[in-house]
């Protein structure tokens, strides 16, 4: 039998490593109820860490006046909490910025579920913790089981206490290490009575509500189950790492949600189900235009979607008439195994009228496991005519007038032409206004018109005429049919009208976006994009809109454009966007929000969970993790709807793509310009060095001819020629130094690394000063067999030549000069040592600066002051260091280079 050994899923392993590398570790001390000793254990652990030399700091620890805890805190370094004044009260909150600044290795933060005081950066403490973790700091924290979001209603059922401070379940999944703190419930109650958990005054109340033996036991059970699930997941992850599990067999739960109250419960059920199964889960909302266009419904839907997202689900919305079909289609596309759905407790009539979606799903005989929860709660029927009421004042009177007028005319005509018309024809004619009014989708009006119509028909045309008496029973049937027709048509028309409205609204949005993207793609300037996009955002949403940008990445964000849809329309309105920005005051706290938004690339401000005290809502324009700018809208929290966010999302994504395109093309241009500039510079250096050297070459050449031929000049004149040669040579060196330093400064030097032999370099340098070195005690000291290294040989030779030249210049006759090379652990080091000359401390500091010169021993030493500057540049380009220092009776110049293979 063949054994197949597959490698662990590489992505998963990589992902793990990545997470482990970059982010801090979250250790959670998890308990069933308060008082089990979570904080105590956490502090004890911290103390041990501190003892072993880890940099631990207290970020925030809740004392509750517990003596044991206070004793433990003693000796632990702490980052003092921030004082926040709010509505007369003083709150102490975790000082997030201080923690990020001080960067301890581990920070202790109590009560993960705590809600921060308003005007804090984040609404919840766990968000602070996440930011700390993102900055690579490990966190120790504590939490009780009842604070877990998905267990919220369960805890409510058990204890009767509604827990408001909750933590999303994803946080528990983010936890790297979990430690369960558990003590027997009897002992807990005892501790409580002894006042070890809360101060005595509050004991009674707490006992009453929460600390019943039964409650504690139930909570313990849940806590242990949760933790077991977590541990189980770790083990499972481990298996996945080891490729022992068939990855494809993993199950996936999909929950179908809508805007009902019960959906929230359903979402929590699904979350629990999926975590018990260790499965992924997603949520689906099918929008089938079925009369749920009310504001309330939409808000509830948005809330449910948010809840699902908070609990870690990916939420999708699809549109389609047939809910069942859409659900199945989506489930198949996403490889779902379990579908969670609500089953309405049917009323007797409902059974016939409309089948339940849950039943329908079951009846299709699909491959999924359908989990249905029965919704026993009575939905408060969202009043459909809410909308109608609003518009009624406007249109209803007109409709009535129109309906009655039409009925009147038709009745009058029928009376005139009575002899020519059958009763059936008259009935159909009178039905006409009913149909017209019903087709407007207004149920109430059409019913009234129907009633009046039936009345008129009966009074004028049904025998006995001019009475409301009906002699023939069959006529009653026709009245009944009248009502049915009116009802069906008006309800259908109403649906159609709603669908039409939704479609129109969407179409409008799409058209706006299309317009935006079409206009924006042709634009090659940031300003133009803003000019097009800003009015679209501002006018569509009717809000004052701001646009912020950074000039450079490390800059602070600046207001770039401002557009107020309410300002008077003029031909220059669009241009005015960029003008008079200085007159707009934006408070420093808003800038803090902006900076955060830039750094984190997430929405912030009003209506979000970050800096919610801000006056504005900020949305970053982001593409591939680069924030190009931020759109700010002056808006109140309750005005931010899903629709609004969706629209803004689409507009900003179009903007982001365009801004990215512009940034890329700019970068392209810049690099092309740089390249051209570089080429020009190189050509310039080349031609300067050629053009300067050529005349020098002819001077030197010709003068040397004069000197060499003894027949041409006498001894005295030959000395003069020697001086000419000396000066010309000096000029050449100066020119070389100037050109080189210019080249190094413009960074146009590319190292040509090759293998160099230090013996070669030393001998070449020595050859250059052959004559002078005869007058010095010159030695070369090379460590045996280690003289080959990788570097730009020509440049390193220049460094050695310059250092040697200096040593010669600043030394007397017959003094000792040593050129040395040694190999150290990770570096090669080359040094020039010369006797009998010291450099003052002040000079040592400046010696490698450009144009710095020390007055030499003999008067004719006057270099360009560039030699050592060039040396430094060359060594630094190699990633090495160069320095000079005084030794006893001598000076050493030394540089080292990293060893390369």
């Amino acid at each position: 039998m063949e054994e197949i050994v597959s490698s662990p899923e590489p992505d998963l392993v990589l992902q793990k490593i990545k997470q482990e590398n970059e982010k801090g570790e979250l250790t959670l001390f998890f308990g069933a109820v308060a008082g089990v000793g979570k904080t105590y254990t956490m502090l004890k652990n911290a103390k041990e860490l501190l003892k072993s030399g880890v940099n631990v700091a207290i970020g925030y620890v809740e004392m509750h006046g517990r003596v044991e805890t206070e004793r433990l805190i003693h000796g632990l370094p702490s980052i003092p909490p921030k004082e926040i004044l709010y509505r007369g009260g003083t709150f102490y909150e975790l000082d997030l910025d201080a923690i990020l600044r001080e960067k301890p290795s581990v920070v202790l933060i109590d009560e993960l579920a705590h809600s921060n005081a308003p005007s804090s950066r984040h609404q919840k403490r766990y968000q602070d913790v996440l930011e700390i973790l993102d900055n690579g700091i490990d966190v120790y924290s504590t939490m009780n089981v009842q604070h877990l979001e998905s267990l919220n209603d369960l805890v409510l059922q058990i204890t009767g206490v509604k827990v408001t401070e909750t933590v999303p379940d994803v946080i528990l999944e983010r936890v790297d290490k979990i430690q369960i703190i558990d003590i027997p419930p009897e002992k807990l109650v005892e501790r409580l009575k002894e006042g070890k958990i809360y101060k005595l005054q509050s004991v009674e109340k707490a006992l009453m509500n929460f600390f019943k033996l039964g409650n504690i036991n139930a909570l313990r059970e849940i806590a242990l189950k949760q933790a077991a699930g977590r541990v189980g997941k770790d083990v499972y992850d481990d298996y996945k790492d080891k490729a022992l599990e068939n990855w494809n067999a993993v199950e996936k739960v999909m929950v179908c949600i809508d805007g009902s109250e019960f959906s929230a419960n359903l979402i929590r059920h699904a979350k629990r189900l999926s975590s018990q199964m260790n499965a992924e889960w997603i949520a689906l909302n099918v929008d089938n235009f079925s009369g749920d266009g009310s504001v309330e419904y939409r808000e509830k839907l948005a809330k449910n979607i948010r809840l699902a997202e908070e609990l870690g689900a990916e939420v999708n919305t699809v549109s389609g008439q047939d809910k069942v079909e859409e659900i199945l289609k989506h489930a198949r596309a996403r490889f779902v195994t379990h579908i969670v759905i609500a089953k309405r407790a049917n009323s007797f009539l409902g059974k016939f009228w409309r089948m339940n979606i849950a039943d329908e799903l079951l009846n299709t005989g699909n491959e999924f496991c359908i989990v249905s929860y029965i919704n026993k709660t009575k939905e408060q029927k969202i009043e459909e005519n809410l909308e109608n009421k609003q518009e009624s004042s406007h249109f209803r009177i007109e409709r009535y007038l129109f309906g009655f007028g039409l009925l009147g005319i038709i009745t009058f005509l029928c009376l005139v032409f009575r002899e020519y018309l059958e009763l059936v024809n008259i009935a159909l004619l009178i039905l006409l206004p009913v149909l017209i009014i019903a087709s407007m989708g207004d149920m109430k009006t059409s019913m009234v018109i129907t009633f009046v119509g039936v009345g008129l028909f009966n009074f004028f045309f049904v025998p006995p005429i001019y009475t409301f008496v009906v002699s023939d029973i069959s006529h009653l049937w026709s009245f009944f049919i009248f009502f049915i027709v009116a009802y069906i048509i008006s309800s259908q028309a109403k649906n159609l009208k709603l669908i039409g409205e939704v479609i129109r609204e969407r179409e409008k949005r799409v058209r706006r976006l299309f317009k935006l993207s079409r206009r924006v793609t042709a634009v090659a300037e940031t300003k133009q994009i803003i000019k097009i996009a800003m009015p679209i955002i501002a006018e569509s949403l009717g809000k004052e809109t701001f646009f912020f940008m950074k000039q450079r990445m490390d800059d602070i964000p600046k207001l770039y454009a401002h557009y107020d849809p309410k300002s008077p329309l003029s031909s220059k309105k669009y241009d005015a966007m960029f003008e008079k920005l200085g007159a707009i005051f934006i408070s420093p706290s808003e800038f803090a929000v902006l900076s955060w938004c830039f750094e984190n690339g997430r929405n912030a401000g009003a209506g979000t969970d970050t800096f919610l005290a801000s006056d504005m809502f900020y949305m970053p324009i982001k593409s591939r993790d680069i924030v190009y700018g931020i759109v700010g809208l002056k808006i109140k929290e309750d005005e931010i709807t899903t629709e609004f966010k969706m629209f803004l999302d689409s507009v900003t994504s179009v903007m982001a793509v365009s801004l990215e395109r512009i940034a890329l093309s700019q970068k392209n241009n810049e690099s092309a310009i740089n390249l051209a500039r570089e080429e020009l510079k190189n050509a310039l250096y080349g031609s300067i060095s050629h053009d300067l050297r050529t005349p020098l070459a002819s001077i030197l050449g010709m003068v040397s001819m004069l000197k060499n031929d003894e027949t041409w000049l006498d001894e005295k004149k030959r000395t003069i020629v020697s001086h000419v040669i000396f000066s010309a040579k000096k000029m050449e060196r100066l020119m070389n130094n100037l050109l080189d330093s210019a080249r190094f400064e413009s960074h146009s030097v590319v190292l040509k690394k090759d293998w160099c032999d230090v013996a070669d370099i030393f001998s070449l340098a020595a050859t250059e000063f052959e004559d002078v070195l005869k007058e010095r005690n010159f030695t070369i000291a090379i460590q045996e067999d280690s003289g080959i290294f990788k570097a730009d040989c020509v440049l390193i030779e220049r460094v050695v030549v310059n250092l040697l030249e200096n040593a010669i210049k600043y030394s007397k006759k017959d003094s000792k000069i040593t050129l040395g090379f040694k190999k150290e652990a990770k570096r090669y080091s080359i040094f020039v040592l010369n006797e009998d000359s010291q450099i003052t401390a002040d000079d040592l500091k400046l010696i490698f600066e450009k144009f710095f010169r020390i007055k030499g021993i003999s008067d004719d030493i006057n270099g360009s002051g560039l030699g050592l500057f060039i040396c430094k540049k060359i060594v630094e380009a190699h990633g090495g260091n160069i320095w000079a220092k005084n030794l006893e009776n001598s000076v050493i110049f030394e540089f080292n280079l990293p060893i390369e293979e």
């Binding site: 050297r693 070459a697 002819s698 050449g701 050109l739 032999d757 020595a766 040989c793």
Partner: protein, 227 residues
Amino acid sequence: MSIPRYKILVIEDDKQIQKLLEVSLEEHQFLLKICGNQKEGMAQAITFNPDLILLDLGLPDGDGKVFLQKIREFSEVPIIVVSARNAEQEIVDSLNLGADDYLVKPFFVGELIARINSALRHFAKKETIPQMKMENLELDVEKREFRLDGIPLHLTPLEFSLLKFLMQNAGKALTHAQILKNVWGVGYQNDTKILRVFVNQVRKKIETDPNRPKILITISGVGYRFG
């Protein structure tokens, strides 16, 4: 006119350098033809039939290396290139393209004459001679041995090949790539580390002071010259 005078073609655009070369070379009994650009130079290379060409790389009508390439298609004439400092790569390229030697501006006349003579000598005895002697170093190709002051040297086969190749090209500037290709073979052109190591070893056997070599001389950034 008993002694044959060598003909030298100078391709150089700078008037002063032209004058310098004219004066100094004629003084050393060379027959001279001077042109200021490549086009003219190419015509003279064919009609004048020089024994040696002195080529400036920075010419008004384009890169001297192109000229070098063209002339090597039909002629083996020794070529010395004249170039500016800081242009090691240009020198290496020229040598690899077939130039025999190079000079860096500014140069002294003495150096120039020495290079010219060396190149002419080397060209004259191109065919390999079984016995060669340079100062106190002797090569005996038939016996496959080198003798220093008459005493045979202990050389590994590769050291022998290296030294033999260098000696046979004595006086000529050789690039790293040229040596590696000829001694180690095609495919080793860029293995300068091995070359450095071997040169180091050979120097210890033939030089009186390996830290101050006199026979096997390093040309900074270019390669080696023997003798």
